[in-house]
Structures are given as structure tokens and as C-alpha cells.
């Protein structure tokens, strides 16, 4: 095909790096402000009573009260929707509130979810202990047990939930196959893609229906601001069966509105906002939305560096005498290596789990002695972060749950930052020296 012909057939819609900087925002509608303004306000003037009624009745778009929506937050929502290839998005005050809102938009008391067992500890507790208080029960399945997801589906199952790459063990769920299982059962697949960001993976292209992010992590990227988001793919047909009456039947809270009929590919987001933000209120502050937008502007630049540093660290750790094992999808003998190549073509992410020789004591000594790497309960900062999950992020799990989630006491979770790689390695050498002599060097 000649260049001229290609020019005709190629859509000129903006690509990822451009959308990262521009999507969701029109300066000419904001006093020409090149930067997205921070609308630090609780509420918005109505033109008249008719305008107010129109906004409350969802007759027209606009903002009423910042718990429901805010212009700065809306830019972030649209930007993430565009990057994910989704139809709509709803930002929340944290990743956990995004998961809770997604579940409460989908489920009612008496419903059931099938959930991957390898999740962030807080998410495990939400599904294991908190949701049952709302009458929503969950069955946990190991992420690599694809058939297990199918077997766990019950008559009242309303969805499947998982992290594409499980926290902290780095086990992948076979998203395309699990999506097929979900769709055969007439239920959606919800994926927490925090570890990937849309730069590494767009779950909608692999069958996911709802994508959730803790924007606090790589998307914001600088460890400054809490934020979460749920994004809708728009393909799931809520009207294909009678499993989702709150999506398809007239809703008393909005004059008998059927979200699925009225809003189709954006129905889930519209319901999450109209009902969930109204009734639960986990709204994102405009300042934090703006901070996340600054991070997203450099997402692809940072993710490349995160991933290249991570691959360097994988090589370094794999050859280190103090390291018992390394888990990262880039390692050729990682059980999910081939799947990761398919789902994560731009890089396998910057989360590494490794086992330190000497077990828990060595792990404690290592963490207490590294100086550059920060010991804290976060991931996806520009800075390198380390934690010992069994005593930190996942410490509220009992022994059996830890084992089922694939955690061991020698495991250290490493979120590789974008510092100079030599400086990270030098810092780790200090930690490993201390780990070999924990009693002499530990500062505990």
C-alpha cells in the first residue's frame, strides 16, 4: 500500500502519549488556561430553577456538587478513560474506594463474587471480611487456576474480580481465558490493573469489562496523592440476562430510569456516579485529581524507566548469592512468562518479589539497613520502595490465608523506582551485607 493510501485509511485520532497530555480538556472553555484549572469548590451555580432540575434529572451534563462530580476531576476521568480505551470513568478518593464502589454498583445482598486469591492485603480483607457484612459472599481462586474460576461460579455470582499480576507474588491470571469464562456465564470481569497502568496493558483489549486503578501508584507516580478510578469498557451487555436488575429495571432513585437502556456503554459509570457517589460519597479532591494529572502527563516516560530498571534489578537479584528466588514476569522460567509477553508487550512492570536467604530475620535486617530504598506501604512511587509483606501489607492475614495467597516469610516486595540503577544496586548491597549478619548490623 502506498503512503498516500495509508494516509486515507489511518484514523487521526490522538495516540497514547498525546492523550496523556491533552485528553478530557479544552482550554478555550476554561479562560484559555493551558494547564487544567483546579476547581476548588463544593458546588456550582444554577442558571435558574429549570437548569437545576435538568441537572438533577440527568437531562443535561454538568456539575451540581463536588461529591458527585467536579470539573478538574472530570478531566482526569476522561483522560484515564481515553488511555484505557474505555467509554467512561469515575474517580474516587482511593483505589480501595473504587473497588468498593464497583462492587456495590454491581452487587446486592445475597450476591456472590469469584475473586483471585492473590490481591493486595486490604482488598483481600474487603472481600473476605467486610463484604459479607453487606450480604455479599466471595469464593477465592488461585490466579493461575483458570478452570477454578469457572467451577466457582454459582447461580448468584455477579462477577469475577482479580489483579492481572497478583500482589505481591507476581502470579498472572489468564485474563483472556477468564474473560471468556465470565462472559459465558453472563457476568463481567473486573480487573485491578494498578500494577500495569494502561501504558503496559489495556485490559479491555483482553476481555475485561471494568478496570480499576489505584491512581495513587504509577499513574500519579510521585507518592504524593491518594486517588482511585473505575473505568468502563462499554462492551458488556447488562440486558443479556436478568442478573443485573439494578442496571436494567426502572430505578426509583431517578424517576424510573433504566441505566442500561438509557446509557448503554456508559451505564455502569452512570449508575456508580448517580447512586454510589450520591449515597457513599468517596469523592476525589480536585487538588489530588490535579496532582494525578501531572503524573499522567509523563506516564509513558516513567513507565519505560521503571520497567528497564526493574529488568536490570531482576538480573542483579537472580545472580546474587543472598537471594533464594526472584519472581518477575520477565524471568524466562517464571510460570507466566509467555502470558506476560502477550499481555504486557511494553514491559512487565516494576514489581519484583524475591526471597532472601536467611528467612524472616534476614529480611528484617535487609529492610532495616537499606538507605536509598524507602521502607513503606506503597508501590509505584518514582522512588524505590521495599517492604516485608508478611509483617506489613499482608500482616492482617492468618497463616493459612498467607499461604493460599502465595506469600512466604522470606519474601520482600520491591517496587523499583527510576533512580540511577547503580545507586539502587549499591544500596541493596548494604542491605544484603546486613542480612548476612543480621545480629551484628541490624539497627533493631
Amino acid at each position: 500500500m502506498s503512503d498516500k493510501e495509508k494516509k486515507v485509511t489511518s484514523p487521526k485520532t490522538y495516540k497514547f502519549d498525546t492523550l496523556s497530555l491533552h485528553a478530557g480538556y479544552q482550554p478555550h472553555k476554561n479562560a484559555g488556561s493551558r494547564q487544567v484549572p483546579i476547581y476548588q469548590t463544593t458546588s456550582y451555580l444554577f442558571d435558574d430553577v429549570d437548569h437545576a432540575a435538568a441537572l438533577f434529572n440527568l437531562e443535561r451534563g454538568g456539575h451540581i456538587y463536588s461529591r458527585i462530580s467536579n470539573p478538574t476531576v472530570a478531566v482526569l476521568e476522561e483522560r484515564v478513560a481515553s488511555l484505557e480505551g474505555g467509554t467512561a470513568a469515575l474517580a474516587t478518593s482511593s483505589g480501595m474506594s473504587a473497588i468498593f464502589l464497583a462492587v456495590m454498583t454491581l452487587c446486592e445482598a445475597g450476591d456472590h463474587l469469584v475473586v483471585s486469591s492473590q490481591l493486595y492485603g486490604g482488598t483481600v480483607n474487603l472481600f473476605r471480611l467486610t463484604l459479607p457484612k453487606f450480604g455479599i459472599k466471595c469464593t477465592f481462586v488461585k490466579p493461575r487456576d483458570t478452570e477454578g474460576f469457572k467451577k466457582a461460579i454459582q447461580e448468584n455470582t455477579k462477577g469475577i474480580f482479580g489483579e492481572l499480576v497478583g500482589n505481591p507474588g507476581n502470579e498472572l491470571m489468564n485474563m483472556p481465558e477468564i474473560a471468556k469464562i465470565a462472559h459465558e456465564a453472563g457476568i463481567p470481569l473486573m480487573v485491578d490493573a494498578t500494577y500495569q497502568t494502561p501504558y503496559l496493558c489495556k485490559p479491555f483489549e483482553h476481555g475485561a469489562d471494568i478496570v480499576i486503578h489505584s491512581l495513587t501508584k504509577w499513574m500519579a507516580g510521585h507518592g504524593s496523592s491518594m486517588a482511585g478510578i473505575l473505568v468502563e469498557g462499554g462492551k458488556f451487555d447488562w440486558m443479556q440476562n436478568d442478573k443485573f436488575p439494578t442496571m436494567t429495571k426502572p430505578y426509583e432513585g431517578y424517576h424510573g430510569l433504566s441505566f442500561a437502556e438509557e446509557f448503554g456503554p456508559t451505564a455502569f459509570t452512570m449508575k456508580a456516579r448517580a447512586e454510589g457517589m450520591r449515597d457513599f460519597g468517596p469523592c476525589l479532591s480536585p487538588q489530588n485529581a490535579w496532582n494525578v494529572l501531572q503524573g499522567i502527563e509523563t506516564l509513558s516516560v516513567r513507565m519505560k524507566k521503571h520497567c528497564s530498571n526493574a529488568e536490570e534489578m531482576v538480573k542483579y537479584l537472580s545472580n546474587h548469592e543472598s537471594v533464594a528466588w526472584v519472581s518477575h514476569p520477565s524471568v524466562p522460567d517464571h510460570p507466566d512468562h509467555d502470558l506476560a509477553k502477550k499481555l504486557l508487550p511494553n514491559g512487565r512492570g516494576s514489581m519484583i518479589a524475591f526471597g532472601i536467604k536467611g528467612g524472616k530475620d534476614a529480611g528484617v535486617a535487609f529492610i532495616n539497613n537499606v538507605k536509598l530504598a524507602s521502607h513503606l506501604a506503597n508501590v509505584g512511587d518514582t522512588r524505590t520502595l521495599v517492604i516485608h509483606p508478611a509483617s506489613g501489607t499482608h500482616s492482617q492475614m492468618d497463616e493459612a490465608t498467607l499461604k493460599f495467597a502465595g506469600l512466604s516469610h522470606d519474601m520482600i516486595r520491591l517496587s523499583v523506582g527510576i533512580e540511577d540503577i547503580d545507586d539502587i544496586k549499591n544500596d541493596f548491597e548494604i542491605g544484603f551485607r546486613a542480612a548476612r549478619k543480621p545480629r551484628l548490623v541490624s539497627n533493631q
Binding site: 478530557g24 437531562e59 470513568a89 430510569l257 448503554g264 452512570m270
Partner: protein, 270 residues
């Protein structure tokens, strides 16, 4: 709501209010390959302000049964049968893009039934780019991607949806891909390309008519829209700057304001 036309279920959004035969009827007709959902920022207003609205899914589109109709003339006749099916004598028509061709033809054929005509992104003829037509008829999703590119103006490409959190281009693309592309978009594009009677039909229209055009519309440029409007007696034209073919989403508030003034004046609700 659902009702039967030609023994097939037809789906139409009523804008969130119950269908009420005591109120004047406004029928909204979507563009090629799309569905009733393109009208969500217009229908709900009228439904809450004294009108009965039907934002239709054309046969074979969205939630409506049957096969897509193959000509604009067939679609125009079908609209007339919709009015009969819901037991009305008359209606006001609102069309977008291909929906303009359909409503022009319908207004010319059934002058006793159609009371006002509102055209958005309309022209007297919509000849299709041959490559786009071929892609759509071959079920190639690139047809939808190209349509979304060309249908949105420069500002629309950045987003800025009036409903917080919604992203125009992906939402439109998902609507157009919700059924088999060749059976919806492919058939619709061919129907548009084949339709040659728009200018003749326009000359017959004697009802109040509004044309909303946009300076960034690549699919039905202002020049073409004006050519059509000039043939309709007393036609009113409103031009939106810095906006593309999807003006009903890109500039939803402006479109609603103009449409509201026009319909309330010319087709008042009692």
C-alpha cells in the same frame, strides 16, 4: 419502551419519562450505525418538559429487531409507520446525519404527519468515501475508527464531554460496534450513498425547519448544509463554531438551547 412495527420489536428511549399519548410527540432519528443513545442529552430534557419522546433504534440497530433497512426511502416510510404504531396522528422529527436524509424524505412524503423538522449535521446528499464504504461493508472495525475520527471536530478529539467522566470517541465507537458492523454501518452507508432525492424532497417541505450546522463538520460541511437549507422555505440555520459532526454531544448544551427554542415555539406543548 418496545412496540411493534412490521411485526418486529422496535426499541425507543422515552427520555426517562413514561410514554404519554396526551403530549406532543417528538421522534429522534440517529445517524449511520448508531443508536438511540446519541440523543440522551436532548431527549431527557423534552421528556421532562411536556413532550413524549421516542429516540428510536432503527431496525437492526441497538435494541431493535429485524434487519437494517436498505434505503433512505424505506426508512422514511418506516418512520411514518412508527407514528401509526404508537397511535399518533402527527409528530415533530429530529434527525442527525443519515437521520436528516430520513427525516427530510419522511417530511416530503408525509406532510400531513410531520409538524416540524430539526436537522443536525444534515445535507441534501451524503456521498460516502468509497474506502470507508468498503471497510464498513467488509465488517472492518477500522470503518468505525475512521468515522469517529472524521465525525469529531478538532476540539471534540480532546474530549470534554458535557457529562462528567464520559469519553466521546470511545463511547461513539462502542455504539457503532455494538452490532455487526456490515449489517448496520455497512447497510446505512450504502443507503446514504444511494440516496439522490434529498434536494427534491427539500423543495417540498413547507413546515418549520431548523438546521444546526458546525464549522468543523467534515462529514456534512456547512456549505452542504446551507445548500439544503436554502431549498426549504423559511428554514432557520444555526452554525456552531469549533465543533464537528457530533454536535449533539460535542456541544450538547448549545444544541439543546437552539432545539428547545425552535420546538417550543413551533410545536408547543399544551
Amino acid at each position: 419502551m418496545k412496540f411493534k412495527v412490521d411485526n418486529h420489536d422496535v426499541y425507543a428511549s422515552t427520555g426517562g419519562r413514561p410514554f404519554d399519548k396526551n403530549k406532543p410527540l417528538i421522534i429522534f432519528v440517529h445517524g449511520s450505525g448508531l443508536t438511540h443513545m446519541t440523543w440522551v442529552l436532548q431527549t431527557r430534557y423534552f421528556a421532562f418538559h411536556g413532550y413524549t419522546c421516542l429516540a428510536l433504534d432503527m431496525p437492526g440497530h441497538g435494541l431493535s429487531e429485524g434487519e437494517s433497512l436498505k434505503s433512505i426511502e424505506d426508512m422514511a416510510d418506516w418512520i411514518s409507520r412508527v407514528i401509526d404504531a404508537v397511535d399518533y396522528k402527527e409528530a415533530s422529527l429530529v434527525g442527525h446525519s443519515q437521520g436528516c436524509l430520513v427525516t427530510i424524505e419522511c417530511s416530503a412524503r408525509y406532510p400531513e404527519k410531520i409538524k416540524t423538522l430539526s436537522l443536525m449535521g444534515g445535507a441534501g446528499a451524503i456521498p460516502m468515501n468509497p474506502e470507508l464504504l468498503e471497510l464498513a461493508e467488509n465488517n472492518d472495525p477500522k470503518a468505525v475508527d475512521l468515522m469517529m475520527d472524521w465525525a469529531h471536530g478538532p476540539a471534540g478529539h480532546f474530549g470534554g464531554h458535557p457529562v462528567p467522566g464520559l469519553y466521546h470517541i470511545n463511547t461513539g465507537g462502542m455504539l457503532a460496534k455494538s452490532r455487526t458492523i456490515k449489517d448496520t454501518l455497512g447497510v446505512d452507508f450504502r443507503a446514504c450513498d444511494n440516496y439522490k432525492n434529498g434536494f427534491e424532497a427539500a423543495k417540498k417541505i413547507k413546515i418549520p425547519t431548523l438546521s444546526i450546522l458546525a464549522t468543523g463538520d467534515k462529514m456534512c460541511p456547512v456549505k452542504e448544509g446551507r445548500k439544503l437549507a436554502d431549498l426549504i422555505e423559511g428554514s432557520r440555520v444555526d452554525i456552531i463554531d469549533n465543533c464537528g459532526h457530533m454536535m449533539l454531544l460535542e456541544e450538547a448544551d448549545r444544541v439543546l438551547k437552539v432545539l428547545k427554542e425552535f420546538i417550543v415555539t413551533n410545536y408547543p406543548s399544551t
